[in-house]
């Protein structure tokens, strides 16, 4: 009989459930996709139901174990010791944190039993691997390496904010640990907060903003020096000490002491939605430089401690794909692998892996050169029947294709004509990136496409870049990247020969002037510093996206497309056909392809909103 482990992450942000059957990922999903509440922290009841259904499990007694992704008591110890260390400061924070701990989080075991009891009967064994062990397990066990150095970096788990470890066969050994409050993730989040973005979700916006900073300006250089001299002491091994006189997250309800930051950087905190001036772009670039320096030093330490030629990464900071690209190009490692669900959602998967290999000592088999993530396509899939039910409910006209080839040909033609197409196929992705099954696709050669996608389709900030999905076999034609990047977690430069020379005064230009310059022959996916966050697409496991890219190349000679997640600002990526249709109708998307069904916007009935969705969706 198969042995099954359920992993759960919950109660902080990005709750999720993942299921391993005999050590293989069967299913994993984030709760936000079902509840339609971005970064939903509640118990992942829907995701758990889904993964159990996928395995046909009706009794929890059929589970070998349920693994929760952190140790609540250890986290509580950290909270109490922190309040004690900073007392009497932090009273407000203490009083707001304690009720939820006393009522709920100290009783996580009971809470989990109650929540699981609502889904199915049975009394499974509950395990609580540490937060960073869960991240390390999510990075190492599904990786294609038999042995590798492991680097986990995030805001904070229990005590740890970063760890260096070594994975070999089915064992993980933690070699170094950096403890709270000294945290690379929280340092980056403090800048996210100061630049007017939302902590825990706006970090990738700050990363996207950084290339607009002026790398040659005195101000950026001064900011880098001030961060190094005043905010953070970076040691040669990559460990850091934060100057807590500037930070408020340990005892307060905000990330930093705004008055002290204003004195240090000479600019006030940007209000959310406020004007993005050059000063914030330079600040974003400065903290990006410092983060890369820390991450590179930690990588070097990982290399020295383990002597491994391979590195695996997880934790929220591993989603900083610019830093990942720098690690790759540093030559420290022969190859690196990053868990596609590197944030806390992936902790559910890591907890399940830790229970399987560390808790139960199971043997690990590695497919050389191939990871075990199934392309991250491990979420729910919907049948043709589900789509037809939607068409009846919405009275939505469509065109049905009996074979894929005609669909690929027609959609490629629409894309080449400047249309924006919603592409909904197969199983939903696990993790924050849409990788071609819940994607919005467009022509990267179109110079107006970035503006159109940001403002008319995604309803988000105009400065944000888009990523390319490129045929793996043609990647080196377009980008200076010599290996696959199937999870869109590596940033590499657009190839020199594709670039358009920029005027000499580019550094002096404002954000919008920089943005609307023609930078290459694939302008919609070329960021202002000529970088691109690349997804390479191979026949397996990407299949339908690969076929579509081939059809697009046949029609246009161009083997890549803009690939952005199928959602609007503040909304989780679509999960079901109904989510997809709603998103399609609310935006200026031109076509929607679901399985072999193609919907033209011009033929759809007039869309009537059942609620004020733009207000309901909180800006992220």
């Amino acid at each position: 009989m198969s042995q099954v482990v359920l992993g759960i992450s919950a109660y902080y942000h990005d709750s999720a459930a993942a299921l391993l059957v005999d050590g293989e990922i069967l299913a994993a999903a984030q709760e936000e996709r079902f509840t339609r509440r971005k970064h939903d922290p509640s118990f992942p009841a829907n995701a758990t139901k889904y993964v159990l259904d996928e395995a046909g499990i009706t009794s929890l007694d059929d589970l070998l174990a349920v693994a929760f992704y952190d140790k609540p008591y250890l986290k509580f110890e950290r909270l109490l010791e922190t309040y004690h260390a900073f007392a009497p400061r932090g009273m407000t924070s203490f009083l707001s944190a304690m009720p939820v701990w006393i009522k709920e989080k100290l009783f996580t075991r009971r809470l989990l039993k109650e929540e699981l009891g609502k889904i199915a009967s049975g009394a499974p064994r509950l395990l609580f691997p540490e937060h960073h062990l869960s991240h390390a397990a999510s990075a190492f066990y599904p990786s294609p390496f038999e042995e590798a150095a492991i680097l986990t970096i995030d805001g904070v788990g229990e005590w740890a904010t970063a760890t260096v470890g070594h994975g070999r066969s089915n064992q993980i050994m933690t070699l170094r640990q950096l403890d709270f409050p000294h945290s690379v993730g929280l340092l980056y989040s403090a800048f996210t907060f100061y630049c007017g973005f939302k902590v825990n979700s706006g970090e990738y916006k700050l990363m996207g903003l950084a290339p607009y900073g002026n790398a040659h300006s005195d101000r950026t250089r001064t900011y880098v020096n001030k961060i190094r001299d005043e905010l953070v002491d970076i040691r040669p091994d990559g460990s850091i000490l934060l100057n807590m006189a500037y930070f408020n997250f340990a005892t307060g309800l905000t990330m930093c002491h705004e008055a002290r930051w204003q004195e240090l950087f000479g600019c006030p905190k940007r209000e959310p939605g406020g004007e993005l001036t050059q000063v914030y772009m330079d600040l974003a670039l400065a903290i990006q430089h410092v983060t890369e320096e820390i991450v590179l030093r930690l990588s070097r330490t990982a290399r020295e401690l383990t002597a491994s030629q391979y590195l695996v990464l997880a934790g929220g900071v591993a989603l900083n794909c610019v830093a990942n690209g720098k690690i790759l190009r540093s030559g420290l490692f022969k190859d690196i692998w990053i868990q596609p669900a590197a944030g806390d959602a992936g902790g559910a998967l890591g907890a399940a892996y830790a229970a399987w290999y560390v808790g139960n000592g199971r043997e690990r088999k590695v497919n050389a050169g191939q990871d075990s993530m199934h392309g991250a396509y491990v979420g729910p899939e919907f049948s043709a029947g589900d789509i037809l039910r939607l068409t009846r409910k919405r009275r939505a006209p469509f065109q049905h294709y009996t074979g894929g080839d005609e669909l690929y040909r027609d959609v490629a033609g629409l894309l080449a004509n400047g249309c924006v197409v919603g592409w909904f196929q197969g199983r939903m992705e696990f993790g924050p990136r849409a990788l071609g099954n819940r994607s919005i696709l467009a022509d990267p050669r179109n110079p107006d496409m970035q503006k159109k996608l940001n403002l008319k389709i995604k309803h988000r900030e105009g400065f944000r870049p888009f990523a390319p999905a490129v045929l793996e076999e043609e990647c080196s034609e377009y980008f200076e990247l010599d290996r696959p990047s199937p999870y869109m977690l590596l940033v590499a430069p657009v190839h020199q020969r594709r670039r358009t020379p920029l005027p000499e005064n580019t550094d002096q230009l404002g954000m919008w002037e920089k943005l609307y310059q023609q930078r290459s022959d694939i302008p919609a996916v070329t960021h202002v510093d000529f970088s691109a966050r690349i997804q390479t697409v191979s026949k397996q496991p990407h299949d339908r996206l690969w076929e579509l890219l081939r059809a697009f190349r046949e029609k246009t000679g161009c083997g890549l497309l803009v690939n952005t997640s199928f959602n609007v600002r503040g909304e989780p990526i679509v999960c079901s056909p109904d989510d997809a249709y709603r998103c399609f109708m609310r935006t200026e998307m031109d076509y929607l392809a679901m399985d072999n069904y193609l919907f033209a916007k011009s033929e759809q009935p007039v869309w009537k909103e059942d609620d004020d969705w733009q207000i309901r969706l909180e800006p992220d």
Binding site: L80, P99, R109
Partner: protein
């Protein structure tokens, strides 16, 4: 019962016994808040006056 078992297991491993009275006091106050559905001070006030 789960709570006490877990707390004891945690104390044995971490050996930070100075946290025990703080945790128990907080939990007792929490229980009072829940039982009195309001202020935790209420039961003491009623016995005094």
């Amino acid at each position: 019962m789960d709570f006490l078992n877990d707390l004891w297991g945690f104390m044995k491993v971490r050996k930070k016994y100075w946290l025990l009275p703080i945790i128990l006091t907080l939990v007792l106050f929490g229980a009072l808040i829940i039982l009195s559905s309001g202020s935790a001070l209420a039961p003491f006030i009623y016995t005094l006056f």
